[in-house]
Symmetry: C2
Subunit: 515 residues, 2 copies
Amino acid sequence: MIHQTGPLDGQPAGKAGQGEFLARLAEICGPGNVLTGEDATGYGRDWRGQYPSQPLAVVRPASTDQVSAVLQLASASNIPVIPQGGNTGLVGGTQAEGGLVVSLARMNRIRSVDAKGRSAAVDAGVIVENLNTALAEYELRFPLMFGAQASAMIGGALSTNAGGANVLAHGMSRALCLGLEVVLPDGQVLDDMVDLRKNNTGFDLKQLFIGAEGTLGIITGAVLALTELPAAHAVALIATENFDAGLVVLNRLRRDFGNLVEAFEVMPRSYFDQMRRCDGPHASPLSGDPEVTILVELASSSPANCSLSADGSVPLVERLTYTLGACIEDGLMSDAVIAQTDQQRKDMWRLRELAPELSLDVRPVVAADVSVPLNAIGAFVSSPETILAAFDPDALIWMVGHLGDGNLHVVVSPSLKTAENMAHIRALIDAETVRCNGSFSAEHGIGVQKLATMAAHRNPLALDLMRRIKQAFDPLGIMNPGKVLPALQADGNHAVPRQDKPTDMTSSKGDKPKP
Amino acid sequence: MIHQTGPLDGQPAGKAGQGEFLARLAEICGPGNVLTGEDATGYGRDWRGQYPSQPLAVVRPASTDQVSAVLQLASASNIPVIPQGGNTGLVGGTQAEGGLVVSLARMNRIRSVDAKGRSAAVDAGVIVENLNTALAEYELRFPLMFGAQASAMIGGALSTNAGGANVLAHGMSRALCLGLEVVLPDGQVLDDMVDLRKNNTGFDLKQLFIGAEGTLGIITGAVLALTELPAAHAVALIATENFDAGLVVLNRLRRDFGNLVEAFEVMPRSYFDQMRRCDGPHASPLSGDPEVTILVELASSSPANCSLSADGSVPLVERLTYTLGACIEDGLMSDAVIAQTDQQRKDMWRLRELAPELSLDVRPVVAADVSVPLNAIGAFVSSPETILAAFDPDALIWMVGHLGDGNLHVVVSPSLKTAENMAHIRALIDAETVRCNGSFSAEHGIGVQKLATMAAHRNPLALDLMRRIKQAFDPLGIMNPGKVLPALQADGNHAVPRQDKPTDMTSSKGDKPKP
């Protein structure tokens, strides 16, 4: 059922118009699902509190039809629409000043699971972790693993093309999506909820909505590819001399284990230095404070790898031990510690998961999410220190990342924390990344945080093509305006976008950050 | 260097205008690389000879700059442009009546290989098999495997989002592309040749050009993801009672071997029936003429799987033997034959590779390339016979396909081979596929062959969005016109597209078909 709503005046609503707009929202979704004023404030804050805003209202539709009716109404009323899932983004992609937040939280139904075909159709508001909890009974999982998975929703994960630690084996969110349901800005519903592994029927439209951060429409449902639930893991910390040596070990592991290699997380010495500064647990359990510590995780569902041996050992762990031993013998790495119990595995992951906490005491920080070609990462890793040596020699710099994806999270705590200073440091890191043929946004997206970088560094022709697509899909410009695409001034140059607001560090969801 | 060309009159060129157009092409690419008349005729024929055409001319640029200059000229002259790689397509995607064929064949350089980072940057005209030959010295490969790989070029593989037998483990072409270089219709070059595993910087434009069949621009280069070269294979033919049982075996194999399971090719009894009719070798080596024969291939690069045991056996083969034995014991399948020598492996693959030859004696045939959800494939498989029982009870029907992808190639040799009859049979199969929530083009694309099906069955809103994209990228409509998107008549309804030409079976490349 599509709710019919007559057009309002097509202009931004005045006070009276707003009242009518809110009344119609309440007709569509029920009065209890339209929030305004203080009730809406929390939705206007990102969890790190860096992009505060006050929405005009928040609406919480319960179905695709309701989302469609809401967007028809918003189009007719010319009201900006900001889709929101778990609100775990890091780049201000749901900043909603004066706009209508459409929360997908009530659309949290797993529509169907095809256990034999290994796929699931879900609402956009299903929380990633909840999906995996539900899939466990089928011995399946949705193999996307990232820090915010206990709050992040499928729609947001797809809208930002979320990555994380398992991209190495399973790809980004994009690679895990078979079909999509999207409500367009005018309320039309694009139903491409196909459960197909091969489907070449014209331009692959879903690829546009994936990663568009809600600027082209609202994802309301998805068909996802699943994979088997691992029956055993093998986890190790290893020490290498540098990043390049780490990549050699990775290739050796992939030769031996294929895509059972699910994570290859890098923690360089700077990471443990910062851990010590903030009085963490916390040194690498590896001897001699190594230059590079890497967390390796293998996962398998094969009984041959996972069934306990007569001596109680796990064959997968034994195999990893053997391969890592050979790597040491061949001089590829200096040391390794292999988890023998589940607690040891958790302790190793805990070291990696501490990442967000390392900046708690020194907030605000500049957190860059960059990727570089694998053949450049060894050279890149020392560059933040080099480029900041003149500008801010006392800045604290540390890194952590996904080595196999060339993806590093570079964190800088400047000695002077003005917005200008921090923007300048971000610009220096971004420019260096681009100089190394890298990306200034590996997995977090653009939101409002990286609009200046988009304007400065993204290929102008690419930006032009993106604007053409935006115009073709959202001619009124109501979908998450001011995100992803830097504004063009009348003279054709880029407008200077709104900057980070590093001074407001209040959080809508408590102080514990998510990576 | 961009060659400057002044605009012609912007109208379809007359005889004199054509002369000037050809002269300018010769200035750009050299006179020897502009072909007309009979020299161009071969380029106007697809290899199966089903979509003959006479191009105005063929141009063979040697560089991206030359492609750019050619497209500037074509835009200024309003001449249709048809990109062509290896010309191995099956759906008439390079039909070129009166247009300019841009052959990428001279752009056949592997630009660079990053062995440690497992990527390669290549020209669009590199032949898939040649790339793999060159990569072998690095112990790497580009893991796309399909029948035409000895002629098909990377640009064409990406433009059609080619699939094939290894999609199960490695995904479609789309999943293997990291960066792209595209020349737009107006000659602008979009250089997104990034070598990045994670890159979320706005809409992922490359996804639009991949699978667009040259309707949005010409792919001139790509950065490709590589994977390790297998050191050993394990191949078996297995017999199952039906498709659903086959899927259960597939899931067991994936549990035990992860993505070492690279192929799971299904040959139902109808396939062997047709083999016998055309006097092939040719029965399943499995006992009792099984309902379903499946070719399983595992591939591994791990020494633990691949190094010969003391008794000369290959551990991977032993492991496969064990798992298949357990499947028989558990009643999941009835029989299996495992290749013990490389020759036996080749013989098994030969059974599958015979597919294109099965239609030689009964040409023309209706060849449908469909996919259905995995939970529907067991029911779908008998439907072509059912739906044709009334219309053409004497039609010969056989199938072959990629079971793990739900992808079946359905071949029908009708008793009456008129164009109308064949179009009707295609329409019946397509309609049934759509009824089963399937796709009428799994991996071959649309070209001109499936325009009627696109008009009849593709979501109208999806078609509308595709047209908006086409208009935004190619406002003059010069890029491969008449392909992929069915024409709209003035009344907003779809025009009836050109049909197959089943009576002309001459081939430009000899009689041996490619799958």
